[in-house]
């Protein structure tokens, strides 16, 4: 077995399994803590609130957006770019199609890939720069934040470095980092990509019960 086959084969399966099992474990664990039923008479629906809360917090409020627009721009840029890369990069789709043995959606063209990468790198750098140069961010950040940012950065970077698709070793580097990232993910704050749904929902549900549409 070559190293490439190893990082794309057994090592990848292992990391993916860790990712899925641990992430589910953590989500179920949070939900299983449970909460007391709210018996105050409701003025509105908690369920609607749950979903409304989730939608509402996708968008910043104008009043506040003025103050931290750079940060917001960076945040959106990074996340949107990342999702575009993750889901629509040609090598990713090819990999997934090989993995699942089914045909998936069409890939984005190369120029779109480049633009998405530019945007998400620009965003990630802004976020990270803010993290170490703003007193508030320095106070509230911990090692997990930095490791998460760096790992994600390295995964993205190695992916882009392998763009020529001419060297197996660059592909190995990228896949190796992806595997490490997958293992790290469920144990870290990267889990916010799933827990946001719970926390926004919890707040949304409370507000929903109070009949508010904030």
């Amino acid at each position: 077995m070559t190293l490439l086959e190893f990082v794309e084969g057994p090592f990848f399966y292992f990391s993916a399994a860790v990712f899925i099992v641990a992430a589910l474990w953590r989500l179920v664990g949070i939900i299983r803590i449970g909460r007391k039923k709210d018996i105050a008479p409701a003025r509105g629906s908690a369920v609607t609130g749950f979903f409304k809360g989730n939608l509402r917090h996708f968008f910043p409020r104008g009043l506040f957006a003025q103050r931290t627009w750079m940060h917001l721009l960076g945040g959106y840029g990074f996340h949107l770019g990342l999702f575009a890369l993750l889901l629509f990069a040609a090598p990713h789709i090819a990999f997934a199609e090989r993995l699942f043995g089914i045909e998936l959606w069409p890939a984005m063209p190369r120029w779109a890939f480049i633009i998405a990468a530019e945007i998400s790198f620009a965003g990630l750098i802004v976020l990270w720069v803010r993290r170490f140069s703003d007193p508030v961010m320095r106070l509230i950040s911990d090692w997990d934040d930095h490791v998460g940012s760096w790992l994600t950065f390295l995964v993205m970077l190695s992916g882009c470095l392998a763009l020529q698709e001419a060297h197996d070793s660059l592909r190995i580097l990228h896949m190796g980092l992806v595997n490490i990232w997958l293992i790290y993910f469920p144990f870290s704050r990267l889990m916010h990509s799933f827990t946001f749904f719970l926390s926004r929902g919890a707040t949304g549900a409370v507000y929903g019960r109070k009949g508010m549409n904030p």
Binding site: A22, W25, R26, V28, G29, I30, I31, R32, I33, G34, R35, K36, D38, I39, A40, P41, R43, G53, N54, H57, P60, R61, L63, F64, R67, T68, H71, G75, R130, R131, D134, P135, V136, M137, R138, L139, I140, S141, D142, D145, P186, F187, R189, M191, H192, T195, F196, L198, S199, R200, G201, A202, T203, G204, V206, Y207, K210, G211, M212, P214
Partner: protein
Amino acid sequence: MTEAATTAVNTLLAQTDSDIASYLEACVHCGECAEACHFYQATKDPKHTPTYKLQPLVKAYKRHKAPLRGVLSILGLTPPEVTEDELREWEPLVYDSCTMCGRCTLVCPMGIDIAGTIRKMREGYAAAGIVPEGLTRARENVERTSSPMGVTAKALLAQVKRQKAETGLEIPVDQDGVDYLAIFSSHEIMASPEIIGGYAKIFKKAGVTWTLSTAAYEATNVGVQIGFGPLARDLVKRIVDEAERLGVKYVIAPECGHAYGAIRWAGPNLIGRPFKFEVIHIVELLDKLRREGKIPPGKKDSRKMTLHDPCQLIRRGGVLKEPRRLLSDSASNFVEMKGAGIANLCCGGGGGVSANERAEELRLKAFEQKLKQIDDIGDIETIVIPCANCRGVFEDGLDEYESDYEVIGLGELVAETLRED
């Protein structure tokens, strides 16, 4: 670990339900919330960042309750045990630097309810007896007289008598068989008793039967402010027992934000059963009566007015449109301040902060932001504030900064602008 720390940590963990857990899990340390908190805005001190205030809870949770903590602790990645020193270090942040206004939740991309979480943290602190002196005193007062300012039933009756004389109207006390039981915050009873006369005037006009009670007149719930569950429950229970004894259909929560939340939203959960009556906020009731045509508006007040949005009523209570509808009937020169409504700035003294002398300097600093917001409208004469606690904070702050805006309650304004027959 000291005993206090153990008690605190155990209580904190017991308070952490799946909602709180998801908040603690989801925070991405993005720092957006800092910009929303008036305490950070006023001081620019990073320690007033909302999420930072939760740190001891986060640590305890990660060490003792978070899923996957087992794996992480093998790698030495769980945080160390929370110490008493640490808890004490955070105590001013938990009590002085959060009014539980919920503004930070609005900007948080994860929708984290910092205010609700602080409320739970205070449970841990109160159980361990790590509470600021001002609030401890308020609690002692409550246990003695049922009111944090030490207002006794006798004092209430004296105010009622004076209001009777002033308005010439009947003010029923301890009467059963009526529809509404009115309760007040001590601040109203002592500082603006006109509201009692105002109620008499409005209800007479609307033909509504109501009463005061000498057994349950205090709406302020110090238990909720300190975060002491048992006391909070007793205080709610006192009102519930009396209301159910009198057989009223509604209890009217006064113009006091957190008192409303305490009985309307927390109340049934505190005593563990639904009430046999409904809780209605006075502003909601006035709006309802107005729309039913029972209290038609008369000549409008022409002073240039603006409305302060009390956090617990508007943002966290959901009574957003009612005050504005009432105002448009009662004031001819009403202007909104910038940022009015659900995202309005807190006065800086909610959540028990105004009862806590240690926090005075910080509270006044925070109020400066509020004052600036009002100054920016220009030429305001009167600020309508449907919350007695906010009114107190405003009066203090206006005094401190030598500003001469007039501060009035909404009920008062409605009573004054009723149509004369």
